[in-house]
C-alpha cells in the first residue's frame, strides 16, 4: 500500500456548493405591496393620478369595509367559492386521473394527447353560450366552464410529471421484484407529485380567472359578477375591491398548495 503524499504547495479550495436553493425572506413581498399602494395613494391625493385613471386605495378599502359590513362580501364570496371548488374539483381530479393514465399506458396516450392538445387552446369563454344550452344557465354551466378550464392544464402537467419520473428508480424497483402496482404507488406517483402540484398552481389560477368568465352569464351574485357590474358602471372602487378579493383568493390557494407540498413532498428534503 503506497502512501499518498500531498503536494507541497497545495491550493486551498473554497467551498463552491450551495446556492440555487430559494430560502424564505420574510416581509419583502409585503413591503413591495405597501410601497406600491402608498405610491398610488399619494398620487391620487396629490392629483398627478386623476380620479379617472386609478381609484384611491383608501376609498377602495372603505368600499371593501362597506362590503364586509353589509354582509354582501360573504354573499358574493360564498357562491364564488362553491363554484370554484366544485368546478376545479371536477376538473382537477379528472385531469390528474387522465394524466396518470396517459403517463402509464401508451394506447391511452396515443388516443388522448391529441384530444387534450386540441382542447387546450380553445378559449373556454367562447364556449360559455354553448354550456348554457347544455348545462342550463344556473350553476351547471359555471361548474362546466371552470372544470374544463382546469382540466386541460392539469392533464398536461400530470402526464409530463409522470414522464419525468426517474427511470432508474423504476428499473431499480423492477430489479428488486416490485409488482407493477407497487412501482406505480411507491415510485411513479410520489415522483410525479412535485410536477402535479406545480401544475395545480397554474390550473387553480386559471380556475380563478375563469370564475369571472363563468359569472358573465346569468349570475347575480359572485365575485366575478360583482367585478363585471362594477366595470360596466365604471365604478373603479368596487372594481378594485373585487379584483383584490380575487388576488387574495389566488394568494390563499397558492399558500394552501404550498402547505400540501410541504407535507406530501417531505421525502424530498
Amino acid at each position: 500500500m503506497t502512501e499518498v503524499t500531498m503536494p507541497e504547495k497545495s491550493r486551498a479550495v473554497p467551498f463552491r456548493g450551495g446556492g440555487f436553493r430559494p430560502r424564505p425572506v420574510r416581509f419583502v413581498g409585503l413591503g413591495v405591496f405597501v410601497v406600491l399602494i402608498a405610491l398610488v395613494e399619494w398620487g391620487t391625493r396629490a392629483g398627478w393620478i386623476s380620479a379617472l385613471t386609478l381609484p384611491r386605495p383608501s376609498d377602495v378599502l372603505a368600499t371593501f369595509g362597506e362590503l364586509y359590513r353589509s354582509g354582501a362580501l360573504w354573499e358574493h364570496l360564498s357562491v364564488s367559492l362553491v363554484r370554484l371548488s366544485v368546478g376545479s374539483a371536477i376538473g382537477v381530479s379528472a385531469g390528474v386521473g387522465i394524466g396518470i393514465l396517459i403517463g402509464l399506458f401508451s394506447l391511452i396516450r396515443a388516443g388522448l394527447v391529441p384530444l387534450v392538445a386540441a382542447l387546450f387552446p380553445i378559449p373556454k369563454i367562447a364556449l360559455l353560450p354553448l354550456f348554457v344550452i347544455w348545462f342550463g344557465i344556473d350553476e351547471g354551466s359555471k361548474y362546466a366552464l371552470i372544470a374544463l378550464g382546469t382540466f386541460t392544464p392539469t392533464v398536461v402537467a400530470t402526464y409530463g410529471a409522470v414522464d419525468n419520473v426517474d427511470r432508474t428508480l423504476i428499473r431499480m424497483g423492477q430489479s428488486f421484484g416490485l409488482s407493477w402496482l407497487s412501482i406505480v404507488r411507491k415510485i411513479v406517483l410520489p415522483g410525479a407529485m412535485p410536477g402535479i402540484l406545480s401544475g395545480l398552481r397554474i390550473s387553480l389560477a386559471i380556475g380563478i380567472i375563469l370564475l369571472v368568465a363563468a359569472e358573465m352569464l346569468g349570475a347575480t351574485h359572485g365575485v366575478g359578477s360583482y367585478i363585471l357590474q362594477a366595470g360596466s358602471l365604471y365604478d373603479l372602487e368596487r372594481l378594485f375591491a373585487g379584483v383584490t378579493i380575487l388576488s387574495v383568493l389566488g394568494v390563499t390557494v397558492s399558500g394552501l398548495i404550498g402547505l400540501v407540498e410541504k407535507r406530501v413532498l417531505n421525502w424530498r428534503a
Binding site: I133, G218, A219, D235
Partner: protein, 337 residues
Amino acid sequence: MLMNRRHALAAMGGAAAAATGLAAPAIANTPLVVGALRLTSHAGSYVALDRGYFADAGLNVELRFFDAAQPMAVAIASGDVDFGITAMTGALISLADRGAVKVIGGALQEEPGITGQKYLVSDAAFQDGVTTPAALAGRRFAISQAGSSFHYMGSKMAKAEGIDLEFIPLQSVGNIISSLRSGQVDGWSIVPHIALALAGSGDVHIVGDVADYIPDYQVTTVFTSSGNAANERAMTESFLSAFSRGVADFNASMVDATEGDAARDEMVRLIHQYVYTDREYEKAAPSIINGAMRLTPNAALNVASLKDQLDWFKAEDLVDQDIAFETVVDSSYVESV
C-alpha cells in the same frame, strides 16, 4: 384639459378664422370622431355625415362604431371619441361624476302612436301563460348588465305592475337572444326592429309596449367630454346643429313619412350603408323601417325622463347617491322639453 393634436389644430383653425375676421363657419374643417352603434336609432349621425351637414358646419367627422353603450362613454372619457349618442348608462353617470363626460342633448325617444320598444317573452313562458308583462312576476328578465337600459325598462315595468323580477345579466344582445330563444330566460325588452324580427320566428312573443309603462322615455342622449362642453362651445354647437339637421331629415322621411315612399327608400338606402350591412337591401329594409322611432327634434332634452332615470340609478344603488342632475347634464346647449 389635455391638449391633443386635434384640439391644437382646432384652436389654430379658430385663431386663424378669428384673425381673418371670418364670421361663419367659426371653426373650419375641425376633425371630430363621433361614436355610433349600428342601429337605426343612430341615423341622425349617418344622415348628417352622408348629406354633408357636418361638412357644412365645418366639421370633418369620422364615425367610430361600438358594440355597446358603456364602452362609448369610456372612449369619450379617454378622449378617443368627441361625441357619442347612446343610452344613459351607469358608466355614463359615473364618468360624469368623475368630471369626464356630460350629456348635452337628447336623441331616441318613446312616443305614443309610434311603434316603440317592446316587452318580449320566450315561447316556453308564453305557453305557460305569460301573455302580459305583469305575468312575468317572479320570472327571469334578461338584461345586458346592471344599470343598462334593459334593466331600467324591466324595473320600471315591475314597479308599475307591483311585481318582482329576477334580473339576469347576460352581457350582450346576442347572448340574450339565444337565451330567450332556448327558454333560459323568460322576458326581455328591446327596440322594435329586433323585437318584430324575433317575434316573426315564433320562438319569442311580444306582450307589451315600453311606452305604456315609461311614456316619453328618452332612450338615448347626445353626450361629449366635459372639456368639449365647457371649453369648445362653438364646436359643440356646430355639431348639435348639424346632427339636428340629420335628425329632422330622418323624422320627416321615416317617422312622419311626410315625404313619400321615394324619400323613405332613399333614407333606408342611406341607413343601410351603416346598419345591417351584412344583409341585402331587400332583407334589411323592413327591419330598418320597423326600427324607425322618433329622434327628438333639435336634440332637445327631456329633463323629466332623464331625472327619472338618474333617480332610478340612485334608488338601485348603482351610482353614488350625491350625484346632482347638473353634474350629469349640461342643459345650456339645447332646449328642454
